[in-house]
Each structure stands twice: as C-alpha cells, then as structure tokens.
C-alpha cells in the first residue's frame, strides 16, 4: 500500500494528520479566540466586579483591598446615584424607541421597496456615518445645537428655538449615533421575510395594515430586539456625547468617568449597574420569545 501513496511532503502529512484528528483541528481553530475571550474579556469584567468590593483611602486616594459592600450600598442608597441610573435607563429606552421608529421605514425601503441591485449601495449609505469618528460627529452636533446654530435657525420660523444643550440634545445625538445599528438588523430581518407571506396575507383578505401587524411585525420582532440590544447598551454606556452636548446632564457613564481616578472601587460599583440592567434587559427579550426563532 505504502508505495502507491503520493509523495508525502510535510504540508501534506500535516493536512492528513489534521484530517484524522478533529479535536486537534478544533483546538487550533479556537485556542486564540478563547484565550482572548476568557483572559482579556471576561477577566477584565471579573477584575471590575472584584474591585467594586474594595475601598479607597479618603486621604491618599489609594485603593485599599479590604472586602466590603460599602460601594454597592452607596450606589443603591444615595438618591443622586439612583436618579442618574434611572435617567440613564430612561435615555436608553427613549433612544431605542426613537431608533425603532426611524429605522423601520428606512429598512423597509432598503430591504423591500428599492430595486434589488440598489440595495447593497443603500446599505453602504446607511453605514457611511460609521466611517466618521464618533468625536467629530458629536462635535458636529454641538455646532448644530449651539446658540444661533443650525437648530435655532431651523426652529426659528416656528417661533421657537433649538433644544440647546441638555437631556433632549443627548437623546437626539445618541439616536443619531446608533441609528445604523438598528437599521442593519431590521434590514436583514425584512430581507429574509419571504415575499409570498405578504402575498398570502393579502390573498386571504388582509389589508396592508393588517399584514403589517399580523405578519411583518411578529416576524421581524427578533431583528428589532437585536437592534435594540445595540442601541440600548450603547446608550447606557455612553458618557462622551453627554459631555459634549449634555450641558449639566449626567448619566451613569459620567459618574464612572469622574470617579475613576479618585475612587476606582466606587466607579467599578457604578459600572456594574449598566451590566446588571443589560442582563435584565436581555432576559426580558428572551422571555418575550423574540429569540426563539433565531
């Protein structure tokens, strides 16, 4: 048998060995990403969580590694922190709802109405804002919202003025920043929706609105949920846009940021709040059954 085998070079022998050993193949494939995921990714989260149980020396600002729950008690009991946490969740919810309302018609157009050969171009167009730096976009909005800026000029004729810097500006800018993350999943969901289901619904006597509520929405709901995970979590963690256009508004990210040099353990405790909220949010999405058909 051996003399009929092809001349065995090193590469061919290696390929043969890999072919016969599926476990070796799998470990070669996954060892690097698993290392990254476990050490760098989960490791840093664990470090964050652990440091939340330490305290800070009030005089030296040095971290004291004595275990206690003081930071969590502070976060939960002080009304400032509670208010900021609730405000942050409110902003994240508002941004998510606004993005759903804006993204759905756009995605419907790019996925179903536009000619098939234009669709990839439209998807690229939706993505173009992501090519520009986050900071540039946020500062552009600062200009738009500044006193006597574009927003004031647009609202002027209606006898009012732009929102200025503040909570409304934060919600506006975050909605703008995360919109592509909502459009893309909805676009994908609508694109996969078989067209003949819409035909079938109309055929059975359903008008357009009925088809929308009974067929389209239930079937793209998982996509909307996926998009909302992006907009919700990105909004909950943001602090830069708030600094730029938020005026005096503070969100949880700002508290983390301002505490990070002075009181790292407290910042870590604050940082676990968005993590906990997002875990709850994901559980709620899962409970809704939206992810069953994924």
């Amino acid at each position: 048998m051996t003399d009929t085998a092809p001349a065995a070079g090193l590469g061919r022998r290696l390929a043969g060995t890999l072919h016969r050993r599926p476990r070796l193949r799998l470990s070669l494939l996954l060892s690097a990403p698993l290392f990254w995921l476990i050490v760098a990714y989960l490791g840093s989260l664990a470090a964050l969580f652990l440091s939340a149980f330490w305290t800070t020396d009030a005089f030296t600002s040095n971290v004291v590694k004595s275990w206690n729950l003081d930071n969590f008690v502070t976060v939960l009991s002080e009304s400032v922190y509670r208010d900021v946490a609730l405000r942050s969740v409110g902003v994240a919810v508002a941004v998510t709802l606004i993005d759903i309302c804006l993204a759905f018609p756009i995605a419907f157009y790019t996925a179903r109405v536009a000619r098939p050969r234009h669709r990839p171009l439209l998807v690229v167009a939706v993505l173009t804002p992501l090519w520009a730096s986050y900071l540039v976009k946020a500062y552009a909005w600062r200009l738009i919202l500044s006193e006597g800026g574009l927003a004031d000029w647009v609202f002027g004729p209606f006898g009012t003025e732009g929102p200025g810097y503040g909570l409304a500006a934060v919600i506006t800018v975050l909605s703008y920043l995360w919109l592509p993350y909502m459009i893309l999943p909805i676009h994908a969901g609508l694109e996969q929706l078989p067209g003949n289901l819409l035909d079938a619904s109309a055929d059975l006597g359903a008008r357009t609105w009925r088809t929308f509520t009974s067929v389209v929405m239930p079937m793209v709901f998982p996509s909307i949920a996926a998009g909302s995970v992006f907009t919700f979590s990105l909004s909950l963690g943001d602090y830069i846009a708030v600094q730029i256009v938020g005026g005096k508004t503070q969100l949880i990210g700002n508290l983390v940021y301002s505490n990070i040099t002075l009181d790292l353990p407290l910042a870590a405790a604050l940082g676990t709040v968005p993590v906990a909220v997002i875990v709850l949010y994901l559980l709620a999405v899962r409970r809704s059954g939206a992810l069953n058909s994924l």
Binding site: P194, D199, A200, A202, D203, L204, A206
Partner: protein, 345 residues
C-alpha cells in the same frame, strides 16, 4: 351554458424589456378544473399572479364572475391561492393559519375556530391544530395550504405548482385527492403546472403556454391527440416529429407530422419489408440507435433511413430486458395507422 368564472382579455405583462405575458385571451368556466401548462418562463405563473392581483397587468383586463377586477388589490378579489412553497405563516399554529382569512374578514371567533377545525379535518389533519408549520412534512404543509385557502369558500382557487415539491408517490396521491376535492366542493380550480402528465390526469381543460402566449386550449384528449402546433406536440407527450424529406417519403405528402410513440409498432425488418402491413399504414425502416428499458415498457430510438429519428414505445407484455436489449443496432421496420399521422404545420 355554464357561467364564466374568469375572463382574460389581451392580457399583457412586461418586466423591464421582457414580455412575460404577451397577449393572453382566455375564458375559464364555472366549476371547471383548468390547468395552465407550460415550461418554466412561459408566463403561466405570471398569469396566475395577475388573476390573484399580486401583479398588475401592463395592459388588458381581468374579469372575475363578470366583474372587472383589473385594478383591484388582492384582498378585494374573491379568489384564494395555494402557493408553490405553501407560504404558511411560520409564527402561527396551523389553526391560526387556517383561521387567518376568516379572522381578517371578522368572522366571529367561535365560528372561525369551528370552520378552521373542520377544514383541517377535511384535509385529514384533525388534531394537528396546535402544531406549527415547521413540525410538518411537505405533504402535510401542502394540505394545510389547501385548507387555509378553501376555508374561505372562494369562487376560484388558484394553485401555483402545488405538488412540485412533493416526491413522486405523494404527488400521485395528491393528484387524485385534489381532483376529488374539486369535484366535491365544486369550486373553479386554476392549476399551474409544468408537468404534462399531471395536467392530463387532472384537468377538464388545459391551456398550453409558450413564451407568454397560449398555444392551445382544449380538453386533455384534444391537446394530446390533436396538438395545434409543433410546440404542443413536443411539450405534451413525447416529441415525435417527422419533417421535410422524411415526412414526404414516409407519410406521402410534405409538412411537419406528429406521431405518438405508443402508436408505432415495431418489427424485425425482413428483406420483404412490407409483408403483412395494410395499405392504411405508414411504414419506415431504420436502425435502432438506443433501447431504454422502463420496466413496464421499452422505448426504442430508431434512426430512419430517410433521415430523422422516431421514438417507439412498446409494452413489455412478453419481453424481458434481455430480449429488448437484443434490438440495439438491429434493423427494424416501424409501422402505424395513417390516422395517427397528425399534421401540425
């Protein structure tokens, strides 16, 4: 005289530069099982979609039971469709799927549940109401699609290659079932298929489509035995055309003739070729180029001395596969009654 269920006049539908439907006139009668037969791209499915209202025609008119519905939306037309891939709603149970049409027409809940269950029972899926489409086999989905359409008691049921995705055995069962169902409910069925056998088996009348036009409308027997054009002769049944010089020599006059393979008899060619064949028969001598054993019958492909090729099908009454194989390469004489020479052009 029966009423007219569907009347199409000068119906035309263009996509970009291409005429998918290039001028179709057609009348479909009340209560008839009507098939639209043709190869893919012949426009038959587009005509069906125009009748359903999923597309609107470039020009021409569509009447349903005497009413012009050309510009009406699908939900304003009293027709229902069984889709090729069934188009069941995956997020609904079977009962919800079947009751959907009743629900959007605001039938009371108790009645629609009752009717949906009844419809599922009619297609032998009683007790499956709480399952989802993904839990069913292809044949079961097909029956749900039927129930979902029929529960609305439409005047016309449109079926777009509904058996195309089923395996052969199931397909043959469903052909019989569909035909019986149609007889029972008395609804006009418009059935799109590319399978000529299916169309011949089930239909009261057939329209043969080619390149966006209708080549012939007739009963299965008319279409099979008296094809109006070479296309129909070739598409319905096996193509067996005699043309040019060969036609002149064998048939005795010029033209294009269609002969059905099962009408042709085949014998080993002795030197005295015409012995025992009446003058009312056409004969041709040739060499067997290939033998295809089909189990119940055998197909002989014969290259004629006068040019051209004829296919003859013989029942394997007394012959075995070894017997028929011996014919390969041998000289044979074909003969058939003159009345089976059918001038198509």
């Amino acid at each position: 005289m029966e009423g007219t269920a569907i009347r199409l006049q000068s119906l035309r539908k263009s996509f970009a530069e291409v005429d998918a439907v290039a001028g179709v006139d057609l009348e479909i009668r009340d209560g008839e099982f009507f098939s639209m037969l043709g190869p893919s791209g012949s426009g038959k499915t587009t005509v069906l979609r125009l009748i359903a209202g999923f597309e609107s025609p470039t020009s021409g008119t569509i009447e349903l039971a005497g009413r012009d519905v050309t510009r009406l939306a699908p939900f304003e037309r009293d027709v229902n469709t069984v889709f090729q891939d069934y188009a069941l709603f995956p997020h609904m149970t079977l009962e919800q799927n079947v009751a959907y049409g009743l629900k959007v027409r605001k039938v009371a809940k108790a009645e629609r549940i009752e009717r949906a269950r009844e419809a599922l029972r009619d297609v032998r899926l009683e007790g499956y109401g709480n399952r989802r489409p993904s839990q069913l086999s292809g044949g079961q989905r097909q029956r749900v699609a039927l129930a979902r359409a029929l529960v609305n008691r439409p005047k016309v049921l449109l079926l777009d290659e509904p058996l195309g995705a089923l395996d052969l055995k199931l397909r043959e069962e469903m052909q019989v079932e569909l035909k019986e169902l149609q007889r029972d409910v008395g609804i006009t069925f418009v059935f799109v298929t590319h399978d000529q056998e299916e169309a011949l088996t089930m239909s009261d009348r057939i329209a043969v489509f080619n390149r966006g036009r209708i080549e012939q409308v007739g009963t299965p027997a008319e279409v099979y035995e008296h094809p109006a054009t070479p296309f129909v002769a070739g598409f319905v049944g096996t193509s067996n055309l005699l043309t040019g010089e060969s036609a002149e020599k064998v048939v005795g006059s010029p033209g294009t003739y269609s002969i059905r393979p099962e009408k042709i008899r085949l014998a080993q060619a002795p030197a005295d070729a015409d012995a025992g064949v009446g003058s009312d028969h056409s004969t041709a001598v040739g060499t067997v180029a290939d033998v295809v054993y089909l189990g119940d019958s055998t197909r002989f492909l014969v290259d004629l001395d006068t040019g051209g090729r004829l296919t003859a099908v013989q029942q394997n009454l007394d012959t075995s596969s070894a017997d028929v194989d011996a014919f390969r390469g041998s000289r044979v004489r074909l003969h058939w009654h003159r009345r089976h020479n059918f001038l198509v052009e």
